[in-house]
């Protein structure tokens, strides 16, 4: 591997175009509960999402491992990471989750991207007035 680094160091011009190559997709989601004051811990949130996956997509769905990269318990906002092949299943199960401990709820998906960086640079968040 060593010679490769040398070549990289020397600044020889290299260009590669990768198509559909990102292994993961990232989601910025927020859980809205009927009773605004109730709270979930990170573990409870992940388990709740897993039940949704299992109901909608069965054991295959439950086998999709996704990461809770970041979670703010006050706003119930989370950043999720999932293998690109599991994105549609995860997203559809979030959409069809309607109640948490017999309280109405809804997952609001703010942004989905194959790049975590894009989640911190969404121009639709620009508030000027």
């Amino acid at each position: 591997m060593k010679h490769l680094d040398q070549e990289e160091e020397s600044g020889v011009y290299q260009r590669a175009v990768l198509k559909n190559a990102s292994p993961y997709h990232y989601m910025k989601v927020r859980l809205v509960l009927e009773d605004e004051t109730s709270r979930l811990s990170a573990v409870e949130l992940k388990q709740f999402i897993l039940t949704g996956l299992k109901t909608l997509h069965g054991e295959v769905g439950a086998a999709i491992n996704f990461d809770l990269l970041k979670y703010d318990e006050d706003t119930l906002t989370a950043l999720l990471r999932v293998y690109s092949s599991g994105l549609v299943k995860l997203w559809s199960s979030l959409t069809l989750l309607g109640s948490y401990q017999n309280q109405d709820c809804a997952f609001r998906v703010h942004q989905v991207s194959p790049f975590l960086l894009a989640l911190t640079g969404n121009s639709r968040d620009l508030q000027l007035d």
Binding site: E9, V17, V112
Partner: protein, 349 residues
């Protein structure tokens, strides 16, 4: 026609490596190609306070103006053309308009006016244009791209007259509008601002100090892991997870070292490519001074709802409109450049 649940929309990532000393390097043209930038985020390893020269560059970012309910035909006003469009570089983008739903307007530095209109507005305007590249089945969106510096579009000319009448009395297109000018700034825009309800805005800067940050070998790390790590730093996501932890297995790419401290700086607003180029030049000087760590990273996010993204290529929004680039600069003048784009975009330059 069963839909494969494991497929995701198209995405492109261009990875380039070269050196600033190589005459063929195109960084400055690539930076210049992304005209409407929403956010710049900077990562300075082993640095805990922003060096003064960098701070002054960031403070000197051109301010921009928000015009409320701008009648778009005002952009064809003679004085405005003379003071803002024909001299220097004007940057204009409709604000709070969604490229996949609403009419969007962009005024490019080379004097080109881009209107991305839905079918009805396009037909009422009555000016020639072509269907959007991202139409699906029915032609529901059309793009009109006009070079205002062209003699046919000179005030009084035939094309100018028809566009002015179309915008003024037939379509009466109105939109909130972001406007900026380089190098003239507000002065060059005075002719238009004086007739509208406007407010001046400064790009918003924020800083965040980081300590004990695990950091990958940025020279040889594979592009996606590198971009993921940079995204994690920007989003303040911890990489200290074990692969067996239930909540998250995100870990810093191996082989990794630990930075005792680092500074993450971000600026938001309508940011001009010229300002970003100045920032890059300043960063390169910063890298020449002896310092502990020999690299810095700069990420620039384009506007998700701009009618154009790279150069004059049409930009669209399917389920995401991301287009950004990350420039990793090293002490020895070499760099790694990653240009990323989503489903409805041309390939970055």
């Amino acid at each position: 026609m069963s839909v494969d649940l494991s497929s995701t929309p198209r995405t492109l990532l261009v990875c380039e490596r070269s050196s600033f000393q190589e005459e063929k390097n195109r960084v400055s043209t690539q930076v210049e190609q992304l005209r409407f930038n929403y956010k710049v985020s900077l990562l300075l390893p082993e640095c805990n306070s922003l060096p003064s020269q960098l701070e002054s560059v960031l403070d000197s970012f051109t301010s921009f103006y928000l015009i409320k309910q701008l009648p778009v035909y005002e952009l064809l006003d003679k004085d405005f053309l003379e003071t803002a469009v024909y001299q220097g570089n004007v940057y204009g983008l409709s604000y709070k308009t969604r490229i996949d739903e609403d009419n969007c307007v962009a005024l490019l530095p080379n004097g080109r006016l881009c209107l991305s209109l839905d079918k009805d507005s396009f037909e009422v305007l009555g000016f020639e244009g072509k269907p959007s590249k991202f139409n699906h089945r029915t032609k529901s969106r059309f793009v009109i791209s006009v070079d205002l510096t062209d003699r046919r579009m000179a005030p009084g000319g035939r094309g100018y007259q028809r566009l002015l009448t179309g915008l003024k009395s037939r379509l009466q297109l109105q939109t909130d509008f972001l406007l900026s000018h380089h190098p003239g700034g507000g002065a060059s825009l005075q002719s238009l601002l004086s007739r509208c309800d406007w407010s001046e805005h400064r790009p918003q800067m924020s800083q965040r100090g980081l300590t004990e940050l695990s950091c990958p070998a940025v020279h040889s790390c594979d592009p996606h892991s590198l971009l993921e790590w940079l995204g994690a730093v920007d989003a303040d996501v911890t990489c200290e997870n074990s692969s067996s932890s239930f909540l998250s297995t995100l870990a810093c790419p191996e082989p990794k070292t630990t930075l005792s401290r680092a500074l993450s700086v971000s600026v938001c607003g309508l940011l001009l490519p010229q300002d970003i180029q100045r920032l890059i030049d300043q960063l390169r000087c910063y890298l020449q001074q002896p310092r502990l760590e020999s690299w810095v990273s700069l990420t620039v996010h384009g506007f998700a709802d701009s009618p154009v993204s790279w150069g004059e290529n049409e930009h669209g929004f399917l389920k995401g409109g991301e287009n950004f680039y990350t420039l990793l600069m090293f002490h020895n003048h070499t760099y790694r450049l990653h240009l990323a784009t989503g489903a409805h975009d041309a390939c970055p330059p």
